[in-house]
């Protein structure tokens, strides 16, 4: 998989139906890692938490947009 990196050939594109990209989740997960003082061993926990946070933000954003419309 040389040259594809961890995100593979799909890059940071948003998954069908998920409305959230891996890049967004990875960024938040990285911030959680930094916030814990770069303590290793919580990769999965951070990813799952980041996914929840990004999805919640997205849902809140959509709800707000609908209200404005």
């Amino acid at each position: 998989m040389a040259g594809r990196g961890i995100f593979g050939s799909n890059g940071g594109r948003r998954a069908k139906g998920s409305a959230v990209s891996r890049e967004e989740i990875a960024q938040v997960a990285y911030e959680l890692f930094l916030g814990r003082g770069c303590e290793h061993g919580h990769d999965l926990e951070d990813w799952l938490k980041a996914e929840q946070m990004v999805r919640s933000q997205r849902r809140a954003g959509l709800a707000e947009a609908r209200t404005v419309i």
């Binding site: 961890i6 594109r13 998954a15 959230v20 891996r22 990875a26 061993g41 999965l44 799952l48």
Partner: protein
Amino acid sequence: MALLVKDLMTANPAVCRPDATCATAGDTMRERRCGFLPVVDDLGSRRVVGVATDRDLLLALVQANRPATEVRIDACMTREPKTIGPDADLKEAAAVMEQAAVHRLPVVDKGRLVGVLSLKDIARAAGTAWRSSGPNVAERQMAEILEAIAAARAAQ
């Protein structure tokens, strides 16, 4: 007397079924503070059909680009993993770990999961032996085991 797998294993480990999602499995790992889950076909029979680590789950989620609630653990588990019996001695367990290049083994008795043996369990026992009894046969045996496993992983 040689230590046996059943002396050091974690009994009644956390498990999940093949249809569990990565979200559920991740929650279980967090709650039970473990990074390894045997996957059993049924919570009653506890027949091991696979194993998954936190790394397996994470890589699967990154690759799948789907919510953790939509990715099943059987999509990322290692099928037909190496196992060990509870009455095996540590040398045998270490040989299996070395051959498979893994840190953890499901302990299976009569087809049923009864525990998990990890390299950490062996290391912890080694530390206890060193503290309590000084140089002895068990200590040397465990030191050899740890060296063999570490060498096997370093060579990969």
